[in-house]
Structures are given as C-alpha cells and as structure tokens.
Symmetry: C2
Subunit: 151 residues, 2 copies
DNA sequence: ATCGATGCAAAAGTTTTGCATATAC
DNA sequence: GTATATGCAAAACTTTTGCATCGAT
C-alpha cells in the first residue's frame, strides 16, 4: 500500500527536478514513477512497466519509447535504479528505499532482498584498499529458493 | 602469457567433454576457448571475441552465431562464466581461475578483480538464513578507479 | 558415410532515434 | 506561443534460428 505523504514528497521532488531542468511534468512520467513506487518490492523490465500501465490505465496514451526515456531520466535522478539480473535485460526498481542486496532464485526467478552490515563494511574496506572511489555496489546471491527446493 | 601445460590440460578436458557428449572438436571452438584463456584478465562480449579472432586469424572462417553457440557451451561446462556489467550486454571471462569479485570503473570501464574471505563467509551465512541453496554469487563494486580519480 | 557444426541470412528481441503532432508551461 | 514530450514507425543493435553445406569422426 502506498504511504501517501511519502509518495507526495517524492512526487514533489520529481516535479521540482523537472522544473529545475526545464523539463515538463506529464501524466506518463507520473504514472511510471507511481507504478515503480507502488511496487517497491518489484523488479521490472521496461516492458513490464509498459504493460502494467497499459492494463491499469487503458485511457492513457503511452509508447514504449516514453518508458525507456523516462526510466533513463529517473535513473539519472537516482529515483530508480537498474540492475542486470543476467538472464533477460535490465530490470528497474525503486531506488530510494534502504540499500539492500538480492537473492535471485534460478528456478522461479523470484528475487528476495536482504541487507547485511558486515558485507557493507567490508566493501568499503576493499574500495579503500584499491584506492577506489566507491559510488555503489551490487551483490547478488544466485541459487534455489526455499520454495523451489521443496518442489 | 600462456602456461602451456595448464592450457593443454584445459584443452584436453574440453576435448574430453566434447567426446563424452558426442560433440565435435573444431578449430572455431578451440580458438574461442584459447582467446578467453589467453586473456584471463579480460571481460569480453561475444562481439569482442568474434572481432579478436577475425583479426588474429583472418584465415579461419567464423560467424558470430558460432561464437554465441560456443560461449553457451563453454558456460554450461563451467569453463567460462558470464556476468552482466549493466551497461552493454553480457560479458564473458575465463571461469576456472580462482573465485573473485569485481571493481568496475564507471569512467574508463576497466575491471579489477578482488577476493575477500570475510565477504565469502558472510554470503554463506545469509544464504543459510534464507534457507537458500546458493549456487553462486556476483558482487560488483562500482565507482571511479585510482587512475581516473587522478585525471 | 554419418551426424553434428558452421556460415549465412533471416528472424526475433530489445533499445534508440527521427519526426510530425500534441501538450505543458 | 514556444519549447519540450509523446507516439509511432523506422532504425540500430543484440541474440537466436533455419537451412544448405561443410567437416570431424
């Protein structure tokens, strides 16, 4: 469920960002942000997002190109982030939730999220050791989830 | 530089594998394996590999489809492994070297490798906690490498 | 001689781009 | 009214597939 006040804040920030870059606030842009925010546990391909909006808002005109263009925009603004899960192209997720990593089930494709302090700290140490200015990281454990093991 | 004895062993294993699956040993398959082995610090797209072979062995006939087909084969045999580095499609690397993770420079695209025991152990703990049967993992620290910071 | 492998070209997917029109400002 | 955004269709890529021919066994 959507926390209205939080969403309103994010939407306000997004509008602000658009204004400051002389970009326009459109229904399409809002819907794309909204879908990703409302499903902040989801990981979507651009096509997923396109289909979701087409289904939920059939009255709104929307082209796949707009989805790609908006996702790029939202990613640059750090509102969403993209991850390559290896198999099929890039997937996007809401980027303003707390940092976390992923457990990817190779059987059913389901993605679980986790956060581990020890790993986070260790990553910083490694970056330091390599004199590397870390801006982000991705960690993904692949395997078979508990549900699929039981099958 | 190539450690001949080691390469011969790997090649022998590959031939063995082909035989046991009733597959054929071809010049194309050997060259693809060889290029990846000889550049075991490299991370290549299928097209990179295609171009490298075309350039180094212009006399050998080779189609891009064969590169894709052979990479799939080598990956199934665990001789090479593929990683999605996010930006452009999948990249392949020699898969029989010691396990390691990656530091990816967002400016120059260079990839450094590292290994960290603490992180490895922690990953196992997490998998256990989620009752997840881990088969592999990928971890990637993104940022700016020391060389690019100096620029 | 047989059966799998290959190159090529076509097809299928995915992402980007050009352009006329629509819409936010 | 002006400038940006959009949809659509075409283009550009990337990856896969079908098929006639080639080549390893």
């Amino acid at each position: 469920m959507r926390i209205e006040t939080e969403y309103q804040e994010i939407l306000e920030d997004f509008k602000q960002l658009l204004r400051s870059s002389k970009l326009k606030y459109t229904k399409q842009r809002e819907l794309i942000l909204q879908i990703i925010y409302d499903n902040d546990d989801g990981h979507f391909t651009p096509e997923d997002i396109y289909n979701l909006i087409k289904k939920s808002y059939p009255q709104v005109k929307l082209g796949i190109a707009t989805v790609y263009r908006t996702l790029t925009l939202l990613e640059e603004a750090n509102i969403v982030s993209s991850i390559s899960f290896g198999v099929q192209g890039k997937k996007y997720e809401f980027g303003l939730k707390e940092h976390h990593d992923h457990l990817v089930c190779l059987k059913c494709g389901r993605i679980e999220e986790f956060f581990d302090k020890t790993i986070e700290k260790q990553q910083e140490k490694i970056a330091k050791k390599f004199n590397f200015k870390m801006t982000g990281h991705i960690m993904k454990i692949t395997g078979v989830c508990s549900v699929c093991q039981a099958k």
